[in-house]
Symmetry: C2
Subunit: 397 residues, 2 copies
């Protein structure tokens, strides 16, 4: 996901800076799991922390929780804002809030930074208690399955044994679906957007170029770098390239075209940024390297490459066999990272496995990041799917 | 263009290792221009060399020459091979030769490495006679127009005042078209493939990421590096990424899919190359950095960004107004670097400018590099276009 998600401006009205439709000021919490956690790789950690946020209220029957799952570069802060001064809202603030598609007057929303992340959850940049230094590349290899199992421990801690829904886009779609596969009785509804059952060769290739940019930066130092250092150049290159894959040719042309940064230098001969799109990419990269850990980028992008439902379970149909949830899969016509066909294939496999599943393809031209952007059509689909009576599910249990 | 163009195996039969259909052993020549050459930027060189090859025989009326124009990473060696030991044929060996679409029994083929290149023509890696060291980033900024003007001097030197055709793909299509614009009476036919009147924001963005990878490599040293050194890591990153844009998701999936390099380590957890596509990209990058100069990559990619016919001439129609050539523009359905629409737009503008022009769109799924690959459909189009009687042109002159 990109750093320039277009969200409505943050209203600053009322004593708590909360306007109708916004969750307002929110606070992150830490869930500390203090027993041994075994990764799929066989490696272990003596424990971990997940940073998370919640919005709305868990009802008396504890059955109104909605789990939000973030993408590669996302985090737990998906709605509201952290202080009156920090006016950057959560990354899905347009979808989540009182009266919004994920209505926090009705649902108790939970969102956690994934295991392996770098926004408060335990990951390669966390300090290894055994050495007093960041884990770096001694951190266990993490998989989407590990993220899902760690998140399940958080849900247990919160006393949530049934999710009204698990919702996510891109990697978040993988996480949401895998939660429904691994914990069938936990998840009643899944909304998976702009996602895939497994990356294509092209997506693996882009990830590999990004990893090479990071790992070939001398400052990477085999993953061993101080928290205020690291391969900033390599991470910036990786992010610039990845950013291109999150948007579309059409949206970049509409936003920047071939406009020059400075008309005075429009016809200059230079390798400095000359086109607006060049300056924009550098700005994106700078914002990213100030908030994201390069090792987390390596670990999580590798987890994406290794996610392969058919390989892990024998076939997609077998993977989906235990699922009890109803699913809504949403593809975006202009998404060329996880194209519509890959989303549609998920819904078809769910149907073949005898599950309730719908596929919706939205005609936006904004590329992969469409799931993050303003879309009344998307809001309507999500709202309708979350709020209708799940008759079929009631029969199934 | 990629380094793994699939060409038929080189036959090694007969005394000159020449089989029917192949030009066989060829030799490169140097054209030395020893007067001041002024670049569009206003900068000058005291002279330059263009390395070139020719196949076939210039006829008595000197009107059977076909100019071949190469792409960013191509060179003058477009057909045949250099020695019995060096079995790598020229990059367009499948198109050019006796009896092939560009029939060297009939046509005199000329192909030169562009000004600014690094395969024998003067470029940033050439030694500056004033300092005895490579020009590096003191080399003048080069434009496609400069390449075209330098190449015209070579044609003058060869006594060629009329080209039967100018043919090129990608940047070569830009060069071929610009030759017909700047020297209307020189060019009778243009074949431009997988090209554009100007890059989109996305194409500029990919070029910028590649340049940043090179320029942020400490070994770039502001363009000042020894001929056996330089930013090999940055150039490799740039090439890996660019390679992805030359092919297609479908072709990568067919060629590699998610196959692992080593089945024993198929489920290993590692950042080393694990998927075949990762090893392939690294191999491509290694081959490239052994033959290409990083500064040339910067200069030529910037020339591509700055090529903009509508901007340079006021509009596409004005750009094409002087053209006397007939044009065949070929787009490839799966080319997402210079997509079919951009090729089609060239043909439409030529038609609006009152020129003879045709547009053909081929349904290959091999991506941008389709113009380099085996295609009987493409061969048939090129052959028919080159060999038919150009009635309209004869009237026009």
């Amino acid at each position: 996901m990109t750093d320039d998600v277009e969200v409505p401006p943050v209203p600053a009205t009322g004593p708590r800076h909360q306007a109708p439709g916004d969750v307002g000021l929110v606070q992150a919490h830490d869930f500390v799991f203090d027993r041994t956690f075994a990764f799929k790789s066989g490696q272990t950690l003596p424990g971990f922390t997940l940073r998370y946020e919640t919005y709305g209220t868990l009802n008396a029957t504890r059955d109104n929780a909605v789990l939000i799952c973030h993408a590669l570069s996302g985090d737990h802060h998906c709605a509201g804002w952290h202080s009156a001064d920090d006016r950057k809202p959560g990354w899905w603030n347009n979808l989540i809030g009182p009266g919004k598609a994920v209505d926090t007057r009705r649902f108790f929303v939970v969102c956690a930074n994934v295991l392996g992340g770098c926004q408060g959850s335990t990951g390669p940049s966390s300090v290894d208690p055994a050495t007093g230094r960041p884990y770096g590349s001694t951190f266990p290899f993490v998989t989407v399955r590990d993220m899902v199992y760690a998140q399940k421990l958080l849900l247990d801690h919160l006393g949530i044994s049934g999710l009204h829904a698990a919702i996510g886009g891109s990697m978040g779609g993988m996480t949401a679906l895998l939660t429904a596969i691994e914990f069938p009785t936990l998840v009643r509804r899944v909304v998976a957007m702009a996602t895939t059952a497994r990356e294509s060769a092209q997506a693996i290739a882009f990830n590999e170029v990004g990893r090479q940019a990071i790992m070939q930066d001398p400052a990477w130092n085999h993953g061993d770098y101080p928290s205020d250092g690291g391969p900033r150049v390599g991470l910036a290159i990786a992010r610039m390239m990845a950013h291109i894959t999150y948007v579309s040719d059409a949206s970049m042309d509409r936003k920047f075209g071939r406009r020059k940064k400075d008309t005075a230098a429009a016809d200059a001969y230079t390798f400095d940024p000359q086109f607006e799109v060049e300056g924009y990419l550098r700005h994106q990269a700078q914002a990213f390297i100030n908030r994201f850990d390069a090792n987390s980028y390596l670990y999580i992008s590798r987890a994406l490459d290794q996610y392969d439902l058919a390989h892990a379970y024998g076939s997609l149909e077998r993977a989906f066999a235990p699922v009890q949830a109803e699913s809504l899969v949403v593809g975006f016509a202009s998404d060329w990272l996880f194209p519509p066909e890959q989303n549609r294939a998920l819904a078809l496999a769910l149907l073949r496995a005898g599950k309730q599943a719908s596929y919706a393809e939205l005609a936006t031209d904004l590329g992969h990041d469409s799931f993050l952007l303003e879309s009344e059509e998307l809001y309507g689909l999500v709202r309708g799917f979350l709020e209708r009576e799940a008759v079929a599910f009631d029969f199934a249990i």
